[in-house]
């Protein structure tokens, strides 16, 4: 046990400033390395699980940025709508919220989860395309500056949140949306499947990580190996030439938003699997900023970078919490974001959606 206090290190400075005895108050920031080492693997497993979710959301930021050089600030709300979408689909399938986990065997559970995921994807994808149509396309037609897009995105973010907060409950008789989180529908009981190095790996963790990796792989293939992907890359690289070559820019942009939204919907379902009681109107915002940080960390505009950034950020947040204390999680994420932007704005893998090999 070597709990190291910052104030211990600075004790000489402390003595040098008798006029302000509280200048370096005791334990302003605790620094606990033993905790990091003792539960290193547990933190890694949890970090990868949340990191996988960050990564899926980050892909949406990265795709849109790659094609349009636009930070789709409202992407976090697209994710939030996906949570409600998959919840509504489960509701429609006849599940009512209850405290216990529904028990209906593995095959049926997987089937229902898949339907829920497709529901989430549909809602998020639809919302992303709708947002593009309603809010961004008029601006693009006019050739508005990038700040205008960002302000529109902030406005859209407000509107979508408050829609779920106030309007949705009115439309659905109070069943969806509102001030409090949705009462959860639990389909999967989280149980430990195996342990290693003191870390318990649960079924939910495995599903999330594998599903996220599979989806990321598919998107990567889609963008790098299909005709549609070639269109996306072409527009990202050189919109004018791409248009001259017969690529419909508008259609590519629509596909990009759709793809990003669909992945956010998938992430929303996976997130609700891990945190069933996290479905709330305000639940997307901070996750969205984290995912954006992940995209920047990996290199915004770079698909593999988004995956890498997501996983790294997820893990680092948890290491940071173990090291400095649980209240420092968001600070860790924001400091990483700021430092990456300052010292390597292109991220770890660089911005390369447009430059990827055909």
């Amino acid at each position: 046990m070597s709990t190291l206090l910052l104030s211990d290190v600075l004790v000489s400075a402390h003595a040098a400033l008798p006029a302000h005895p509280l200048l370096l108050a005791d334990g302003v920031i605790d620094f606990n390395t033993s905790r990091l080492f003792s539960s290193f693997w547990s933190l890694t497993v949890d970090g990868l699980t949340y990191g996988a979710i960050y990564a899926l959301i980050a892909v949406g930021y990265t795709l849109v940025y790659g094609v349009l050089r636009l930070i789709n600030f409202a992407h976090s709300e697209i994710f939030m709508l996906g949570m409600f979408g998959q919840y509504a689909v489960l509701w429609g399938l006849g599940f009512t919220p209850q405290g216990d986990v529904y028990t209906q065997g593995t095959v049926l559970t997987v089937l229902y989860l898949l339907i829920a995921m497709i529901g989430g994807m549909a809602v998020s994808g639809g919302a992303a395309v709708g947002l593009e149509r309603v809010a961004y396309r008029p601006l693009r037609k006019r050739g508005a500056p990038s700040l205008t897009f960002l302000i529109t995105a902030i406005g859209a973010s407000f509107v979508l949140q408050e829609f779920v907060h106030f309007v949705l409950p009115k439309l659905t008789g109070g069943n969806f949306g509102g001030t409090t989180a949705q009462q959860p529908i639990r389909l999967v009981q989280e149980v430990t499947v195996f342990s290693f190095g003191g870390a318990d790996v649960s079924n939910v963790d495995i599903v999330i990580v594998i599903a996220a990796l599979a989806l990321a792989f598919l998107v990567d293939r889609f963008v790098n190996a299909t005709k549609f992907g070639r269109g996306i890359r072409a527009v990202a690289q050189d919109p004018v030439t791409a248009t001259l070559m017969g690529v419909s820019r508008e259609r590519v942009i629509m596909q990009t938003f759709l793809l990003g939204g669909v992945l956010a919907g998938a992430a929303a379902m996976l997130y609700s699997l891990k945190i069933p009681n996290g479905i709330i109107y305000s639940g997307g915002f901070i996750l969205g900023i984290k995912a954006f940080a992940a995209a920047v960390l990996g290199g915004i505009g770079n698909l593999r970078g988004a995956l890498l950034g997501g996983l790294l950020l997820g893990v680092m947040e948890l290491y940071g919490q173990a090291l400095f204390g649980t209240e420092w999680r968001d600070v860790v994420a924001f400091v990483i974001l700021v430092l990456v932007l300052l010292f390597r704005p292109t991220g770890i893998l660089g911005e390369s959606l447009g430059r990827a090999r055909a």
Binding site: L22, I71, S146, L150, E162, G325, V331, V338
Partner: protein, 427 residues
């Protein structure tokens, strides 16, 4: 919009558009003393609005004086943010961080809960607030310098996100450094000016305890903010008309071109950032004094967006426009709060007020599509020798109403919001 921005006003036949511009042209043509002669009574009228208690206009659910006091603070914030966003064209999403630093500087130096409280050592409680205001401005300006010098090399979206991160880091530090800031419990009993103490107001007119409308503390704080707004407007207005202001416009319109033409862009961007930060700190100090209680939750990122909303709504780049924007975002929700009927029509004011973010979000989207320049758009104008030119322009207008006389270099270019042409036409 880009197509129209390139069209000089003269080709449309008229050097002005609509009533707004006519008023503006008239105003700009007046001599400075005349402007003061008209401006001062108008400001005095605004200052006495909470006293006059005009029906319908006066808020029902909340005290009008306090609402106007909050408006004054947000107006200051908007003016400061306008220097950064509207004039220099740098999108700052973490402006609330400066507001927080200003408020916390005052609170840390004067609250008995703080380890750095000076009021029980050598600083008199009576003057503590006033003493701390310049310190708060200085510290926020320095923090603007610290944040700005590494980040201002970034452009556009990246800068926006870095500042967003900064704003959140400031709030989280205030939340986490509990031994200094009290964390979520905040700092209570922040000092305020002890003026006008009497048997009726034992703690002076600025104390929150002085609550009986209309002569309550809200009104007094509103007056303080009006004085500060006028001072800040004079400073910012002079800067705008100086070399600094011209450099800001150049940077906003085309940073690369400005750099090539010899404008030290980084230096002037930093200036904008530091000045904006200082004004934010001033407003934060006002907040700390009025509410006398500072907690981190008041400085979340939503407030940053809210401030930005005021600037965009009012008209980026136009000082009076952003004040109007601040008035709209502060006053409108309060106007509806607690109101059950409006001109005989029964309404549910509380519900309308609680939807404020929905409406502001919609307003932002719609404005960006149809009127990106805001309610009171900024007009490009010549910054030097302007008054003579406006007088000339006005003479020409009056003489040749409706004639297609091209007014030389009047500079009123239609539809051009700030930063409108920057990398326009790309998408």
């Amino acid at each position: 919009m880009t197509t129209t921005t390139n069209t000089p006003a003269s080709t449309s036949g008229r050097p002005y558009h609509g009533v707004g511009d006519r008023v503006r042209l008239w105003w700009d043509a007046q001599a400075r003393p005349t402007q003061w002669l008209i401006g001062v009574p108008f400001i005095v009228f605004i200052a006495f609005l909470p006293v006059l208690r005009i029906p319908v206009l006066t808020t029902v659910g909340t005290d009008f004086g306090s609402v106007m006091a909050q408006f004054g603070m947000i107006a200051l914030v908007a003016i400061g943010l306008n220097v950064v966003v509207g004039q220099a064209g740098l999108l700052d999403l973490g402006y609330v961080g400066f507001y927080a630093i200003g408020a916390y500087t005052v609170a840390l130096l004067t609250s008995p809960d703080s380890p750095w409280n000076l009021t029980d050592q050598w600083l008199s409680q009576d003057w503590a607030w006033l003493f701390c205001v310049p310190i708060a401005i200085a510290i926020t300006a320095i923090s603007g310098l610290i944040l700005g010098s590494p980040t201002l090399r970034l452009r556009g979206d990246y800068l926006a996100i870095v500042t967003l991160g900064f704003g959140e880091i400031v709030r989280l530090l205030a939340d986490n450094l509990t031994t200094i800031t009290g964390g979520g419990q905040g700092l209570k009993r922040v000092a305020y000016p002890r003026l006008g103490e009497s048997t009726e107001h034992p703690d002076g007119v600025f104390s929150a305890g002085n609550s009986a409308p209309p002569w309550n503390s809200g009104l007094w704080w509103f007056w303080v903010s009006i004085v500060l707004i006028v001072i800040v407007l004079l400073v910012v207005g002079n800067l705008e008309r100086s070399r600094v202001g011209r450099a800001w416009v150049a940077i906003r319109e085309d940073e690369d071109a400005a750099e090539i033409m010899g404008v030290p862009t980084f230096k002037f961007k930093l200036w904008a950032f530091v000045i904006g930060a200082g004004i934010g700190g001033l407003s934060g100090a006002l907040y700390a004094g009025q509410v006398q209680f500072v907690v981190p939750t008041n400085f979340n990122v939503v407030n940053s967006m809210f401030f930005l909303c005021a600037v965009v709504l009012g008209g980026q780049g136009n000082k009076l426009g952003v004040i109007l924007g601040a008035f709209v975002i502060v006053y409108l929700p309060n106007f509806f709060l607690g109101r059950t009927d409006l001109f005989g029509i029964s309404i549910d004011g509380n519900t309308i007020a609680s939807y404020k973010y929905l409406f502001f979000g919609l307003a932002l989207i719609i404005l960006m599509i149809f009127r990106p320049q805001g309610l009171l758009p900024a007009r490009q104008k010549l910054l030097a020798y302007s008054r003579q030119l406006y007088q000339a322009a006005r003479r020409a207008v009056l003489a040749g109403e409706g004639r297609t006389t091209p007014v030389p270099a009047d500079g009123t270019v239609d539809g051009r919001g700030p930063a409108a042409t920057k990398d326009g036409g790309e998408r």
